[in-house]
Amino acid sequence: MALLSVEELSVTFTAKGRKDATAVDGVSFDVDQGQVVGLVGESGCGKSVTSLALMGLLPNKGVKIGGRAVFDGQDLLSMSPRKLRDMRGSKLAMIFQDPLSSLNPVVPIGVQVTEILERHRGLKGEAARKEAAHLLDRVGIPDPSRRLKEYPHQLSGGMRQRALIAMAVACAPRLLIADEPTTALDVTIQAQILELLKELVDQEGTALLMITHDLGVVAGICDQVNVLYAGRAVESAGRRELFAHPTHPYAHGLLGSIPRLDAPRGEPLSPIRGSINDRIAWADGCAFAPRCDRYTMECLTGTPELTEPRAAGHQVRCVNPVLPKSKAEVSA
């Protein structure tokens, strides 16, 4: 039984006098104990909204949430706010993209870290302070006792992200949700943070839900990868399988459009045409069809189902998947 099992999660934003905007349109995935699962996609694909919905951080008004997200036997989406507050921070923790805006600028780091220890672990005074120093030390912040007294602006970007990670792992959560944890950082610092996350997952058996737009990061850290487009998972597979055989035209195109450091120079990139604005509702067909080179009339007749055209466990939501030549000819 999976630690977190998300079924047909949907999030719709409603506002008076406006058309409803569906950010997440039926996303399903599982996260097992100790597993690193990636949600990948470009801006507007609904990956961040998914994480906010799971953490119960979306506002009550103007948001319709559907589906189920069973974590440890309980549905997070229908849980009472009080119960969810107890879960958040202790069993379920989140690391945000921008460490400066997710830390309180007028409160020293130490107070922000001990706050969690007091709330969830009942530590007080000196014990809490010592544990906080230990946590900072653990995530590789040198001189933690001094750092505890400092304010977020006195720390560098990488250091702030480490502090945020320290807060997230303070109660040894069973699931860690990291929303673009390295996007605001330089590559050398990104490498440090990714190593740290890997280390934490390996040692603690924490499950990690990694939300990112960077396929390079995914290739390095995730066990299972879900590629999102316009609020739905279009492809889901183990990372080796996915990167070796991207089968949905979107995933295929995405990998073709990334300049790679190890690719021979001079080969032009093969971008996906158009932008995320050129899409149709999933209800009418495949949202990617207007940008897809392989689309046929069949793509415009209702939401394509998830199938496994290539290998077991490799799910693809496409009626014209990218398959090896011979097979494609046979099916044609």
Binding site: A133, D137, G220, S257, P259, L261, R265
Partner: protein, 433 residues
């Protein structure tokens, strides 16, 4: 003769203090002696992390920031010494594409107005009709519809806005385009469209690019020559393929090993060189080699003498005293390059146990049960590891002081070190506006 030659370019921002009298209390050494040559029709890629001075250098070429010292020779003329009025005329031939396509387009001007403004200023085209014809031609080149003319920036997607930014540069028929992070604000699928567009335009119009970016993969894809910047100066310069095949400077090695590659096979196999700490403050750069505070191979000499960029053959230039020794594997590591130094982990389990069953234990009891130090004693665990390795005291001390810098430590020069950043950014913001 190269089209654009920079010789010893320095851009220092003064750090001012005081209410009535602006005393200069120090400088931010944003760019500190950069020399490079951009050949006509080629692409020079400038990479580096945030704060290394790459953007300031690009702006310095266009004199959007004042150059403190050095020469910027464009087509035989030293731009650094030109009077403002003449410089303005030269700007037609040197254009810039900015990072944030929305922030660099006036939201209240339609596209025709945005694109024709520069043309009118430089006297291109007799009247608006003639300019409009020219603009239509350029819009077609950058892949925008003609009906874009009467629309406003907010009506376009990010990729299209960047195309408008490129069109704005192109209508003036420049020789050189300085692209400052041209694709970093775009999604990957759109990124590739813009990269391809830049390459096509270079081919058809014979443009020369100076591309400034933090993404090594992007820069490698489009550049003929790459310069790697660290803290205000070039540490390595080489033809694109040579740099990728054999980076010689320790910083370049670390940078390349940190770039994630979207291929699990590659990711699993390769060795990472993890750098310790962060970029030191450019207001208080370390003495000697700027990189010695984070360099895994740092030696005594590195803390004292600043290496110069020297040619090691085939146009591959590197600024490192020990590049040859490192390549030959003759130099021992003086700092660990793995995760061990970044995280100190052994203490975790025992610490947890300790905290749970007996709250504030005296620290003296701790070493008996666990090898790793804790609490106040633990403060210096990570740096102690780093400092323990070097052979000599001098080096250790240097590393220590450098460590403090690397953390952006406001201990002695606290106020000085803190002040410049807002100052510099305010300045930048002012210019952009």
């Amino acid at each position: 003769m190269s089209l654009l030659e920079l010789d010893g370019v320095k851009v220092h921002f003064p750090v001012k203090k005081g209410i009535l009298f602006d005393r200069t209390v120090g400088h931010v050494y944003a760019v500190d002696g950069v020399s490079l040559k951009v050949e006509a029709g080629q692409t020079y890629g400038l990479v580096g992390e945030s704060g290394c001075g790459k953007t300031t250098l690009g702006r310095g070429v266009l004199r959007l920031v004042d150059i403190t010292d050095g020469e910027v020779v464009f087509d035989g003329t030293d731009l650094a010494k030109l009077p403002e009025e003449e410089m303005r005329r030269y700007r037609r031939r040197l254009q810039m594409v900015f990072q944030d396509p929305l922030g660099s387009l006036n939201p209240r001007q339609n596209i025709e107005s945005i694109l024709s403004e520069g043309m009118a200023a430089h006297g291109i085209g007799k009247d608006q009709d003639e300019r409009r014809e020219k603009i239509k031609e350029i819009l077609a080149k950058v892949g925008l519809p003609t009906n874009a003319l009467s629309r406003y920036p907010h009506e376009f997607s990010g990729g299209q806005r960047q195309r408008i930014g490129i069109a704005r540069a192109l209508v003036l028929e420049p020789d050189v385009i300085i692209c400052d992070e041209p694709v970093s604000a775009l999604d990957v699928s759109v990124q590739a469209q813009v990269i391809n567009l830049l390459e096509e335009l270079q081919e058809s119009l014979g443009l020369t690019y100076l591309v400034i970016a933090h993404d090594l993969a992007v820069v490698r894809h489009i550049s003929d020559v790459i310069g790697v910047m660290y803290l205000g100066s070039l540490v390595e310069e080489a033809p694109s393929d040579a740099l990728y095949a054999g980076p010689k400077h320790p910083y370049t090695k670390a940078l390349m090993s940190a770039v994630p590659v979207p291929d699990p096979e590659v990711e699993d196999r390769r060795e990472r060189i993890l750098l310790q700490g962060d970029l030191p403050s450019p207001a208080n750069p370390p003495a000697g080699c700027r990189f010695h505070t984070r360099c895994p191979w740092a030696q005594d000499k590195c803390a004292v003498e600043r290496p110069v960029l020297t040619d090691v053959g085939d146009g591959h230039k590197v600024a490192c005293h020990f590049a040859a020794e490192i390549e030959a594997g003759e130099l021992e590591l003086t700092r660990p390059t793995g995760i061990e130094a970044v995280v100190s982990t052994e203490a975790v389990a025992s610490q947890e146990a300790e905290v749970e069953d007996a709250a504030p234990e005296p620290a003296s009891k701790v070493p008996a049960q666990a090898p790793a130090p804790k609490g106040e004693d633990a403060e210096h665990e990570a740096p102690a590891d780093e400092d323990g390795a070097p052979a000599t005291d001098g080096d250790a001390a240097a590393a220590e002081s450098a460590d403090a810098d690397a953390d952006g430590d406001p201990s002695e020069s606290g106020a000085d070190a803190d002040a410049p950043e807002p100052d510099a950014s305010a300045k930048k913001a002012g210019r952009t506006a």
